[in-house]
Amino acid sequence: MRRWQDWYTTLLTIAVVLAVVGQPVASLLGDLAHQADPRRVGSGLALVAVAYAGYLALVRMAGPVVLGAADASWRLLSPLPRRTVLGRTARALLVVSVLGGLVLGVALVSVLGAPDLLPLRLTAALVVGLGAGLGGMALGVLGQALPTWDTRLQALIAVTLAAAVLLAVSGSGPGRTLTALPAGLTGALACCAAAVAAFLVRRAWTALDRVPARAILAASARSGRVAQATVTLDPGALTWAVEDNHWRGRALRSRRWPVSGAWTLAWQEARRITRRPVRLAVLAGATALPTLAVNAGLPQVAAALVIAGALIASVSVTSGARRDGDNPALLRMLAVGSRAALAVRALPPALLGACWLGAALWLSGAGAWWSLFGPACGPVLAVGALRMARRRPIDNSMPVIDTPGGAIPTGPLLWALTGVDLALLGCVPAFLALAVRPADPLPLLAAQMVTGLVLLGGYVMFSGRRPA
């Protein structure tokens, strides 16, 4: 039973939170009363759709019904009613989906604007957002209980992504229609979203009693690894768990190696990535995200997406370097020198990073010359990706620096910056070119090429000395 001190603490926490976030939220909501630019609405909505598809994918990947290790071991397999055991999880899912839905609603009204009747349009957008958040989470729960609902959830993710593509390519057409929606229709849409969400939540609540224990145990094991990786601050362990889970139990079609010698190590990455076509398709689709951000009037977000996307593309083909960094037993068996292995293993991240960056720049309408900065940055991206792949685990014994803004643990900070540091430094000529936009980008393009090759050569020469 709650004591008065608990109530006091809860109410005081709510009061403090309201006092802290009240003003910024009021200011943010006030800013929403604007006329949206129809040319930017399509791209903005496409970004919101991509974010929603990401939310649904995360819900599906997480479970979403999971339990702590003790509950999964003891209470789940007991005769207790399943809904009682999962009560706390259900409340947590409710909070997450409400928060996600609110963010989605604010994003919607921010993109569509509210030239008149701000309270009505804001309420309608928040109801639609909440409906999407709660409905998506309910679909996730249903999907965990029944395969047919899981298929529907996958279809919804695909449809959302397809809608994002359509919105992105349809220019200002949808913008003109959607910004001028009558208030009555907006209200009706909100009512529909609320009704569908209520139906799905009710079905999910009923299905909670029938979620198979094996599905909850599998999801709990996954989330347990996430928690462990978070507590021990070792994200590398988590990515290996995900990678190994993917291949465990999978039958592959063995094929001969078309190259010989150390070159096989580069081909190995190509073979692995082509065996994950969905990941490759997501990477290819992500090249359009910076363009969407530019069209939505968010140039800073676009710049961040370009840098992050190119680096992620490069990192996605460095599994061999990471494996050998963690455990060099196979590299010793292959008897390939560490410098030769590193040089060959720089090829896949350089090529994929270059292609991704080139495509992203080309799609953003920067022009052919500017797209050449993609291939020019390839070697630098490879250095950053290999440095990330070969970094040591986080050194938690490193000092914590106290700053006015709070304590900064240097171990995780240095770990996070390893790889990103050289990638950013090495791409300075490209950043300069894209920021200044000189009439003749050729000198900076040449500077980028030379910087990349020198950096890659130096990295292979010096880092490759580390024994296998």
Partner: protein, 209 residues
């Protein structure tokens, strides 16, 4: 004419964390010879193998492998194959592709990959990722990677780990055949039956008290 020993180790002493692990250990292995290093847990068998592989530097003593001190370099590993704890398998590659990766990077193989799969009873598992296999099957893949490639010295740390009795007999045949072709084998083992079936010379290590 005297044959140069594949391994000549004299007066090896290793201290780990201030504790003596090996004291005055001598070991030699000639081409075509199988040596089984036996001893209780903590006697230093794995440490000795690591010294022979150049992964541990002894405090005193002298080790020559194929005429030179062992070093953790590609040149050394082209002649020497080491199996110990399970290696980290590459993601996205099947058992067969792992074996072919080994023969392709060496540009040659001691045996055909198909023959190796059959010899190690992995024919029905060729298209699976190693992580799909049982512990014993993964140990067979691990041993197959060492035996499918060319080498002059095999260093095996507890090769019997996870293997069933029937396959241990087959492994003894495979190792004997390797030695007949001129290769030297040094294995740390607790399985005296395997050592005997290989016709191995026993070297007993006593734990340093």
């Amino acid at each position: 004419m005297t044959v140069e020993p594949t391994i000549a180790a004299h007066d090896i002493q290793v201290d780990l964390g201030g504790q003596a692990v090996l004291r005055e250990v001598d070991l030699t292995a000639a081409p075509g010879e199988i040596v089984a290093v036996i001893g209780e847990n903590g006697a230093g068998k794995s440490t000795l193998l690591r010294c022979l592989a150049g992964l541990e530097t002894p405090a005193t003593g002298r080790i020559l492998v194929l005429g030179d001190p062992p070093t953790d370099t590609a040149t050394f590993w082209r002649e020497v194959a080491l199996t110990g704890d399970e290696p980290a398998w590459y993601p996205g590659l099947s058992v067969q592709e792992h074996l072919e990766l080994v023969t392709t990077t060496h540009r040659d193989g001691r045996m055909d990959v198909g023959a190796a799969l059959a010899a190690f009873d992995l024919g029905g598992r060729a298209d699976l990722h190693p992580l799909t296999l049982s512990t014993g099957q993964r140990q067979r893949v691990s041993l197959a990677t060492a035996l499918v490639r060319p080498s002059r010295l095999l260093l095996l740390d507890e090769p019997e780990r996870g293997l069933d009795t029937a396959f241990r007999d087959r492994l003894a045949d495979i190792l004997r055949e390797y030695a007949v072709r001129g290769g030297a084998v040094v294995m740390a083992t607790h399985d005296l039956g395997l050592a005997e079936a290989c016709g191995a010379r026993l070297v007993r290590l006593e734990a340093v008290r």
